[in-house]
Every structure is written in structure tokens, then in C-alpha cells.
């Protein structure tokens, strides 16, 4: 992710985990007119900004989306996928060290505005609907993450 290097993650494992539950999860998302990861949130992000955006989004998924899903009585198959995604997100976040230098302030602010767009859209929905939509949009997030994934 731009200046942030992440190693030790097999994106195909994340895709495999998501594909296993994609239909189940996306079927729970009844509000098709709204998208959390809007075009203004992810596309056209500079490399420098991507580290900040990735860090904010993944942290949100860990603290809010996954956590709430774990507390629901989800079926075994979803729990396994959640575990794979959550534990890899923890690994990624532990490697993402967004720069805290002053000249990065503007980039950091821009990234934060993008994240707020996502978070605001999430909060405008009922929590159950928001969780289903956020989890269902995992393919948008993984596709975006894949752009920064280089086969070393």
C-alpha cells in the first residue's frame, strides 16, 4: 500500500474465505440502492494515501463489522470465513504503519475524509443492514487491496 509494505498475506486465502459465504451474506443485504464503499471512497487513491485508507477501513471492519458478526449466532461456515478474514486483517494492520510525519498531514486528512464517507453511510443504515452490506462489499474491498498487491 504505497509506502506501507505488507508481507505474509495470501490474498487468495481471503478471496476463498469470502467466496465461501458471498451468496449467503449478500442475500442478507436487501438495500441494493446504497453502497458503503462508494466510488468516492476507494478509486483513484494515491499510493501514499492508500496506507491511511486501508488502515482506517480494516480497523473499522475489525472493531465493528466482524465483532458484531461474531456476536450474532452465525452459521459455522460464516464463522470460519470471518475468522480467516479477521485474522488476516489483524496481520495486515499490524504491518501497516502509516507515516505520522507532518508533510503527510494533507494526505492523511484526505484519507480520513474518504473513510468518513464510508462510516457516515454505514451509520445511516440500521445496524443489521449496515453489517450485511459492509460484509457483502468485502469483494469491493479485496479488489481494491489486490491493486496494491505485488507478486514479489
Amino acid at each position: 500500500f504505497g509506502p506501507c509494505q505488507v508481507k505474509g498475506v495470501v490474498l487468495s486465502e481471503l478471496w476463498k474465505a469470502f467466496w465461501a459465504v458471498k451468496n449467503t451474506v449478500q442475500a442478507q443485504d436487501n438495500i441494493t440502492s446504497i453502497r458503503l464503499l462508494k466510488p468516492e471512497v476507494l478509486p483513484n487513491i494515491s499510493d501514499a494515501e492508500s496506507c491511511f485508507v486501508a488502515h482506517a477501513l480494516l480497523k473499522f471492519y475489525l472493531n465493528v463489522v466482524f465483532k458484531n458478526y461474531y456476536n450474532k449466532r452465525v452459521e459455522f461456515k460464516i464463522l470460519k470465513s470471518l475468522s480467516t478474514l479477521a485474522n488476516n486483517f489483524i496481520l495486515i494492520i499490524s504491518k501497516l504503519q502509516p507515516s505520522q510525519e507532518n508533510e503527510m498531514f494533507a494526505i492523511k486528512e484526505s484519507a480520513h475524509r474518504r473513510f468518513l464517507l464510508f462510516q457516515r453511510a454505514f451509520k445511516q443504515l440500521d445496524i443489521e443492514a449496515a453489517l450485511a452490506k459492509a460484509f457483502g462489499e468485502m469483494d469491493i474491498l479485496l479488489t481494491w487491496m489486490e491493486k496494491f498487491y505485488h507478486q514479489l
Binding site: E13, K67, Y70, F76, K80, A86, N88, F89
Partner: protein, 204 residues
């Protein structure tokens, strides 16, 4: 009410080689019917964010052996807690938990098995298929004083790879090591295997 009547399994340990992870424990010997075990795991996320959540192992909940292949359960390079309990009818033992969390980056990496053959004048190599997380560094050379080594990265085992077109009468040798990018480690090189265009495979 069937709680903690049975003895719990002891001596849990994980044996991991080439990213295949096997959890083992000492069997619980009880008279009469067969004893079963249930295995559960918890990744770093679960232990940090939802410590009450344990996930049944894909292949061993239940099982009647005293080992469990947890490879498909360990899907991130983070520490995993593992626990086992004995079950029989409605009775269950207490959980026994692995003393130290297991991280797949501690797996023992062994050199890959390989077949070196010749197809006419073509030097052909087939490496052991160790799964999608493995790549291989292959080094080959013509066996003569001062010979230059050639290196090649092979992305996947289990398929023949053409290395070199050989000269008549010359002998060529090959060695390989396994690479796992997920954990940033590699095995030692295998023992070299040589073939001669007219001769059979000559072990060193």
C-alpha cells in the same frame, strides 16, 4: 449433567512440516465404548476481540483418533490457540488447551522431493506438489569443472518443467529448495540429482 466427568486429553502438541499442521495428544484410555474428541481453535482476532468464541475444527469435531490435521483451520500467519476435549455420549471432559499458541511461521520446511528425467536431449524436472503457498528455487548446472550454475523459480509443483537442452555425453545436475512467501522462509536445498544424456539418473 455430563460436565467434566471424563478425563481430559493430555500432552497436546503441534507437529508442522511444509505448512501441514498436525495437532496430537495422548489418547484417553477408557473401558467400554469408543472415545471421541472435539478440537476447537481461536485465532489472534478471536482471542483479542471475542475471547468467548472458539471455532470447531473443520475435520475433527468430532474425531476418534488422537490427532487432527488443522491445516485448513490455520488460515493466517498469526498465533492460534487450540483446545481438545474428550466426549462420549453426552459426557464431556474439561478442555485441554495447547500450552503455547501455534503460528504457522514456525513450520519446519523440508527440501522438496523431485524427479529429474531426460526427454531426449531435454532436462526435465518434476517437483513435489506441496500446495499453493509453495514456490521453488531450482538450481542446475552442467557437471564439469568450473560449470556455471543456473537458477529458476518454479511457481508450482506437480508439473514437469523443462530446464535445459543438454549436450550429448554431458551430465547435468539439479537441486531445489522450497520457498514460502507467506512466512518469508525457505527450506534447505535438496540433495542434487544428476542425469547423463545417455546414462540413467546418477545420485551423488
Amino acid at each position: 449433567n455430563g460436565v467434566a466427568v471424563l478425563p481430559a486429553p493430555q500432552n497436546l502438541s503441534v507437529h508442522s512440516t511444509n505448512m501441514k499442521h498436525l495437532l496430537t495428544w495422548s489418547p484417553v484410555i477408557l473401558p467400554g465404548e469408543m472415545t471421541f474428541y472435539s478440537v476447537e481453535y481461536q485465532g489472534e482476532y478471536e482471542s483479542l476481540y471475542t475471547s468467548h468464541v472458539w471455532i470447531p475444527s473443520s475435520s475433527c469435531s468430532p474425531t476418534n483418533g488422537s490427532e487432527c490435521d488443522i491445516t485448513d483451520d490455520i488460515t493466517a500467519t498469526v498465533p492460534y490457540n487450540l483446545r481438545v476435549r474428550t466426549t462420549r455420549d453426552s459426557q464431556t471432559s474439561a478442555w485441554s488447551t495447547l500450552e503455547h499458541p501455534f503460528n504457522r511461521n514456525s513450520t519446519v520446511l523440508m527440501p522438496p522431493r523431485m524427479e529429474v528425467t531426460k526427454d531426449g536431449f531435454h532436462l526435465v524436472l518434476e517437483l513435489e506438489d506441496l500446495g499453493p503457498q509453495f514456490e521453488f528455487l531450482v538450481v542446475y548446472w552442467r557437471r564439469e569443472p568450473g560449470a556455471k550454475e543456473h537458477a529458476k523459480v518454479v511457481r508450482r509443483g506437480g508439473i514437469p518443467v523443462h530446464l535445459e537442452t543438454m549436450d550429448a555425453g554431458a551430465a547435468y545436475c539439479v537441486k531445489a529448495q522450497a520457498l514460502v512467501k507467506t512466512i518469508g522462509r525457505h527450506s534447505a536445498f535438496s540433495q542434487a540429482k544428476c542425469v547423463e544424456v545417455q546414462g540413467e539418473s546418477l545420485p551423488l
